[in-house]
Amino acid sequence: MHKTSDDLALVRLGLKGDERAFEELVRRYENALYHLAWRMLRNDEEARDVVQEAFLRVYRSLDTFDQSRKFSTWVLRIATNLCIDRYRRRKVWLLSIDVDAEDEQRRPIVLVDQGPDPAAVHGKTSLARSLDRMTQRLPPIYRTIIELRYKQSLAYEEIAEVLDVPLGTVKARLHRAHRHLKDLLSEAGIGPEAWDA
């Protein structure tokens, strides 16, 4: 994330009704938002919906944006909240099916990747492929934090701003996410000795 000062200039132009400035903001952040949404939801259509809804909300509430803050973290926060809402709705829907099942016992739900295996598409290393699968088994909040830290390359402070949590919480969640992933890889029989990063 960069071009912060340019972002603010574009926001100010957008506030004056300059749609081309707003379109430039969309162009700058649409991919970041899509990747975040895709990592959370693993569904192209839903990820696109999140991007559109996020920018609609951005435009609608542009005049409430605190210009002393970074636009990038604000827009990521909006998208993150939308993703979490969708994830919860999806989970509720799956739970309602689950309750109708014979045993009426709520089992843990694992959401399955509905898209193509990106690692297969991009030919990444086997560890990256395994990690990508493992991240899908993390709770959404850990998935988000992994995406923000490693794919969006945000600093801890920026992640705290996006998630609206204290800095210590960000670090604690990231540590727990690392530990979860390490344990999941070990359970899958993928030991550190096989990690050729």
Binding site: N31, K182, P192
Partner: protein, 208 residues
């Protein structure tokens, strides 16, 4: 994992967040604890591998799709984003154009009625009932004009947005908008001049 209490310290050590004193203590511990040393190596590789996580699949046409979904809403909300000056300019220009149009329409109607014939026009000017009916007809005409405008507005806006999005990088829309305003104003002025000229020439002389 021999030292669960050190899992967080190991990660903080790798990310440089561990205070120097704690870091030195951990380094000393690592020399004597093979499990923690293995976990440290595992976290180091894990963090490096996370940076290599595959990207989402490529999304061709994302910008086009996003903007296509956004544009109707942007049009709807555009007026909310106007500054006071833009609002005054827009409303002022609209009022001037509407005034020019109404004036030219009224004068043209007056002239047209004058040409109908002296008797009918004389009756019109004297007969209050006739005046009321004429006013009603004029009001119907204005309402019809408003309905036509309302019907055409969405189509015109859609056409405008389509033109603007397809030719946005090529066309200087600002000067074109001003030029179109100027053209409409000139047209309105010309209509008025024609109507007044017709009056001066005595087209309505029959009405008196």
């Amino acid at each position: 994992m021999a030292c669960p209490q050190r899992q967080r310290a190991l990660q903080e050590y790798l990310s440089g967040d561990l205070p120097p004193v704690a870091a030195r203590e951990l380094e000393a511990h690592l020399e004597s604890c093979a499990d923690c040393a293995r976990d440290l190596a595992a976290y180091r590789r894990l963090m490096a591998a996370l940076s290599e996580l595959p990207d989402a699949p490529p999304v061709p046409g994302l910008h086009r799709d996003v903007m296509a979904a956004l544009r109707p809403q942007l049009v709807k909300w555009r007026h909310r984003r106007e500054t006071r000056t833009q609002l005054v300019m827009r409303r002022g220009l609209s009022a001037v154009l509407a005034g020019a149009f109404a004036l030219s329409l009224s004068v043209a109607l007056w002239g047209w009625m004058g040409r109908i014939g002296s008797v009918a026009t004389a009756r019109f000017s004297r007969d209050l009932v006739g005046l009321w009916k004429s006013a009603q007809e004029l009001w119907q005409l204005v309402r019809l004009f408003g309905d036509v405008l309302r019907t055409l507005e969405p189509a015109a806006l859609g056409l405008w947005e389509a033109l603007r999005s397809s030719a946005a990088p090529l066309v200087p829309w600002g000067p074109l908008i001003l030029a179109s305003y100027a053209a409409v104003a000139v047209l309105g002025g010309w209509l008025c001049w024609r109507a007044f000229h017709a009056l001066k020439e005595g087209d309505l002389s029959h009405a008196s």
